[in-house]
Symmetry: C2
């Protein structure tokens, strides 16, 4: 059975690019003529927001569908407008999939087992319905946040297997403060580990921070950053969902803004597909992103949202485009990005086509 990772790689081969276009509609940035059309139909309502978000997305999708294999709608921007916003999200997903694109939902969902199951069923699986079951969002893959550990991820893994879907687990995110938790160095092993662990069962009568323990025999104490342990988990979780082409349907989110970390993570998770945000607007360069690719030129998807969706507003595309041709600007911005990424892949010796 073809897995998500197999479909993903075939689609990438077909388009010959690892670029993914984000679909992040923001009311203040959408062309006025699209907003006017929606308001004239629905008045100044949430439904009008929903309608112009969908119209905007259709324009972007039509402009890039022949150039890229993937789109990544960020549900936060839709969900913020309530049920009508979610309706626009669902219709965007349907439109993109019918255009032959693979849809990765950026949702970063997470909860305890029974609740994670509800998230997974709705987004990548099947929900209980009146007779039997039904699919709701039916995206190809979804991003998942791992703070709760394995039993919050398990339901998604099951749906990946059963429905040939994928997930991308946050490992090292692209934002400035990602290190606050992700980079903390934790003790992998030390001789007194059990005693230290028992210290955590402290009844709390000791003074504040009594549960911070001092370690002995340091020469035998090994430490590692949290994101590396998470990477080891993601690798293990993914080994059960390997595709015919050698990659897993359990991916990892690794920011283009942290190339040094990416190099190490690439080694820890050789068969894991990386979803790489942070290119462009967030400061990650094409060269930075190369650290996320394996030597075979596969293993990473490089995503950009604002720079493509709103290219018509920014240099250099605003010179030859206005609101009316936002889609043309997005098309040119996509070509510029794919060219830059392909160039970097070639000079890194990671261009497979």
């Amino acid at each position: 059975m073809r897995t998500f990772s197999d479909r993903l790689m075939d689609a990438i081969d077909d388009k010959r690019t690892v670029v993914c276009v984000g679909l992040d509609p923001r009311l203040g940035l959408i062309p006025a003529f699209l907003k006017q059309e929606s308001v004239s139909k629905y008045g100044e309502t949430l439904e009008a927001v929903s309608a112009c978000y969908l119209a905007f997305n259709k324009g972007i999708i039509d402009a890039v569908k022949d150039k890229v294999a993937l789109v990544k709608p960020q549900i936060a921007f839709y969900e913020a407008y309530g049920a009508p916003g979610v309706k626009a999200f669902e219709e965007t997903v349907r439109y993109a999939r019918s255009a032959g694109l693979i849809v990765i939902e950026d949702a970063k969902r997470n909860d305890i087992g029974s609740t994670a199951e509800a998230y997974s069923s709705g987004h990548i699986g099947e929900v209980e319905f009146w007779k039997g079951k039904t699919r709701v969002y039916d995206v190809d893959a979804i991003t998942v946040s791992p703070y709760l550990g394995f039993d919050g991820v398990q339901p998604f893994l099951d749906d990946c297997r059963i429905h040939q879907k994928g997930i991308f687990v946050l490992v090292k995110t692209s934002n400035p403060s990602s290190g606050q938790l992700q980079d903390l160095l934790h003790v992998v092993d030390c001789p007194w580990m059990n005693e230290v662990r028992q210290g955590l069962a402290d009844d709390g009568t000791a003074p504040l921070f009594s549960n911070m323990r001092q370690l002995g025999e340091a020469d035998k104490v090994t430490v590692s950053p949290n994101y590396m342990s998470m990477a080891i988990n993601v690798k293990m979780w993914g080994d059960g969902v390997l595709g015919e082409r050698g990659y897993s349907s359990v991916g990892a989110v690794v920011g283009a803004t942290y190339p040094s970390e990416a190099r190490v993570l690439r080694k820890i998770m050789p068969k894991t597909y990386f979803l790489v945000p942070g290119y462009g607007a967030q400061g990650g360069s094409a060269k930075d992103a190369m650290a996320c690719l394996n030597s075979d030129g596969y293993g990473a998807i490089i995503s950009s949202s604002r720079d493509i969706d709103y290219a018509y507003r920014a240099e250099p595309f605003c010179r030859s485009h206005s609101e009316d041709t936002f889609d043309g600007a997005a098309s040119e911005a996509t070509t510029a990005m794919t060219d830059a990424i392909s160039k970097a892949m070639k000079s890194a010796g990671k261009y497979p086509w």
Copy 2:
């Protein structure tokens, strides 16, 4: 200006209980007569699911509104049914608030700064609209997941201040595998920290796990579990949103299933309100939950969902109730829980009324 934490404590005083009722509708567990009513009106559609979820919630809310101060709808169960499900969530929130209840949305949202802003605006703040701004979900508080660090939390903090709302940040969750990341012992301080940190910038040419470093001078190495560092962050984040009654509007999620950890967390975050899941179905006892309360009897909300929503299906309430009186069973289950919690509070010397 009265903060969320002030309103929360006033409401708790008014009802004289710290119990919070979860609103977790599941199609398979909802009384058949409610489902039939919805299907006869809307057919076997998602709209019918939405309608019977709302009808079920109204029954539970009417049954408990005079007994508790708070309800906690888990958005996963609504969101799983797409836009119609989200509509049921929004209408449930409105109905609960109009009944004088404080609504805590369990959503565990998280993302990078600009996207976290979209989540926060939609759920507890105001979104950009056709003229000016508008509120969408307008819940009183929302749960937030901290894997991405501070800049993913900042937008929520701003809305807490501006709109007198609250957040509850995941610190030590109630699920079995919460320790997988949350309990990892990290190095708080050691003499070689900079060298160890530099090791993380390894170019990746070293063998796998080369970035795991061995520490020296162990007697000077101090370690602490990740959840404790997160607790210290939550305390700091909350100091900017303190209410007249001494507590912060930035709360923490601390599972009733980990009382030893809760005792320590209570000391680290004295002014932080704990949202305590895990009571009942997940195995946390009333006595366990007491560790989350301060000696003044405040500082914790103890939540239960399945045991109350579906009391009519389980012992002992199923003896005197059937589907038709699911609300009566929920009412009795709520009374039983509030009595058990109050009893435990009294014997712990933490009953403020």
